[in-house]
């Protein structure tokens, strides 16, 4: 009997466990998955919690419900990987698991401790994240009692999970305050290290237009150095300062601490990974799926989902001692909600930036870089697809490679 060991039972780990259990013979291959948390979070739903659209119950289900029969699920802290010995230590080093092939899917976490002052006395009082359930729930409470002032959304540094989420947050805040009839009393500002609203030029143009239309200010090229809790200001390295009444932070993102303990990560604990084959650099029997990898594309569930098909093919090739032929193209695809009723959609990969056009789909087509009602409902419907199809490794009616069909390059 040979072993496949999967570290992390989030979106990426759960999805690949389902795919591999269907693909590999139960007599020849055992599959084990390890994670210390029992709850699976529907992370795209976190965004809706601060505005009371979703609550905790909408985004949490037991992880075990999505792990198929025939996969051993071990709830344990992961201590470290010993790649030279093909084993992983768990439970504070008290237990070891041997593997023939290892899949690292330990994701990314927010690391507010990296910015001085962020975890100060205002944390979860006037300073919030919305990348954890606790942060999103605390923010919902705070927004209810907020009757006007400066709401600042700050991106600490790149890369961070779901790169469109800060924009979606600020667009939803605009609608939220309009509904409460106090939009004229609230100043909304996005403070970002990027030169504009987004990284790629065509999408930036479309999104900057929307921000202007909604009277959302932007402070670009701002690299936060520290938070001044006393005077409620964020400061950058050149002493530029932005005042806030509520600060919504997107903290530094890091890979799991276990990666650092295993000496397998880069500066931010992301695992150096071949961007096409998804094999960990320097390790023939280790693959990396999802946010844990240092791939030059978005950290997002859609990437884990598309990449899983390529990882599965390459793992089978590796098992058979054949060259790795499947080449992941960096495909990512995100809905961007722009209000309570509209949304836009972007679709891109390593080579092609988000372009306008149409996204062909069974209930579509959805508008790419266009602000439409159907896109918003697409985002809400996606929650059902996530729990019922995606995690279980069922085929979704979208292609894994990005398609140039129906995209237009503006003049």
């Amino acid at each position: 009997m040979k072993n496949i060991l999967i570290l992390g039972a989030g979106t990426a780990g759960t999805l690949i466990a389902n795919k591999l259990r269907k693909r590999l013979s139960k007599r020849e291959w055992s599959i084990t998955i390890v994670d210390e948390n029992k709850e699976h979070y529907y992370q795209p739903g976190f965004l809706f919690i601060p505005f009371g659209i979703y609550n905790q119950n909408d985004v949490i289900k037991p992880k075990a419900k999505f792990i198929p029969k025939g996969v051993d699920f071990i709830y344990s802290q992961i201590d470290k990987i010993l790649p030279q010995e093909n084993k992983v230590l768990i439970a504070e080093g008290k237990r070891e698991l041997k593997y023939d092939f290892l899949i690292i899917a330990t994701g990314t976490r927010i690391a507010p401790e990296e910015t001085p002052g962020l975890l100060g006395e205002l944390w979860h009082k006037d300073i919030f994240d919305f990348y954890t359930v606790e942060g999103a729930v605390a923010l919902a409470e705070r927004l209810k009692s907020f009757n006007g002032g400066k709401l600042v959304v700050n991106i600490t540094e790149l890369p961070f999970k779901c790169p469109v989420a800060p924009l979606e947050f600020i667009f939803l805040a605009d609608t939220y305050f309009k509904k409460r009839g106090i939009r004229d009393k609230v100043e909304l500002t996005l403070v970002t290290p990027l030169p504009g609203a987004f990284t790629k030029p065509i999408a930036t143009k479309m999104l900057s237009g929307l921000m202007e239309e909604k009277n959302i200010k932007i402070v670009p090229d701002f690299n936060i150095a520290e938070v001044d809790n006393l005077n409620k200001k964020i400061l950058d390295y050149e002493e530029k300062a932005v005042e806030f009444d509520i600060l919504v932070t997107i903290p530094t993102n890091k890979g799991a601490d276990m990666i650092e303990r295993s000496s397998m990560g880069d500066d931010l604990n992301f695992v150096p990974t071949d961007k096409h084959t998804l094999q960990a650099v320097g390790h023939e029997n280790i693959f990396v799926l999802g946010d844990a990898a240092n791939l030059p594309t978005s950290k997002a569930g859609s990437v884990a989902h598309f990449a899983a098909d390529f990882l599965e093919e390459n793992l089978i090739s590796a098992i058979n001692g054949e060259p790795l032929k499947a080449k992941f193209d960096g495909h990512a695809n995100c809905y961007i909600v722009t209000s309570y009723s509209k949304g836009t959609l972007i679709d891109f990969n390593y080579e092609t930036e988000p372009l306008p056009g149409r996204y062909p789909y069974w209930i579509g087509p959805f508008g790419l870089l266009k602000d439409t009602r159907l896109n918003y409902f697409g985002k809400l419907f996606f929650k059902w697809m996530y729990w019922n199809l995606l995690l279980k490794g069922h085929h979704l009616p979208v292609t894994s490679h990005m398609s140039m069909c129906c995209k237009e390059r503006p003049e």
């Binding site: 540094e157 290290p193 990284t199 790629k200 390295y237 500066d267 030059p296």
Partner: protein, 103 residues
């Protein structure tokens, strides 16, 4: 592809003025680019430039944060040496591509 002359050498640059061939770089060229940016290069500047070039050549990602690992300066001093946009300016002077930020 455009070409530009620095200190008597023709080099290949992209539309934003970044080198497309880091091999064409030398210290004299660095000083000439720095002059265009309004900077006079000190030993500390050169030490950072060398760190950035080595890191680029070994395929590691460049970020503001990675400067802390240089052992030469911290981020605040990095800003003082290359005011405004330190990473953009220093990589241009170092003759390596502008660090691309992924989405």
């Amino acid at each position: 592809m455009a070409q530009k002359e620095f200190a008597g050498h023709m080099v290949d640059v992209n539309e934003e003025g970044y080198f497309t061939n880091p091999q064409q770089w030398n210290k004299e060229i660095a000083a000439a680019i720095a002059k265009e940016e309004g900077l006079e290069l000190s030993d500390k500047h050169y030490a950072i430039i060398e760190f950035l070039r080595n890191r680029f050549i070994s395929g590691e990602a460049l970020s503001i944060r990675s400067i802390n690992k240089s052992g030469i300066v911290d981020v605040k001093e990095f800003y003082a040496l290359f005011p405004g946009a330190p990473l953009k300016k220093s990589t241009k002077i170092a003759g390596i591509p502008k660090p691309s930020s992924c989405i």
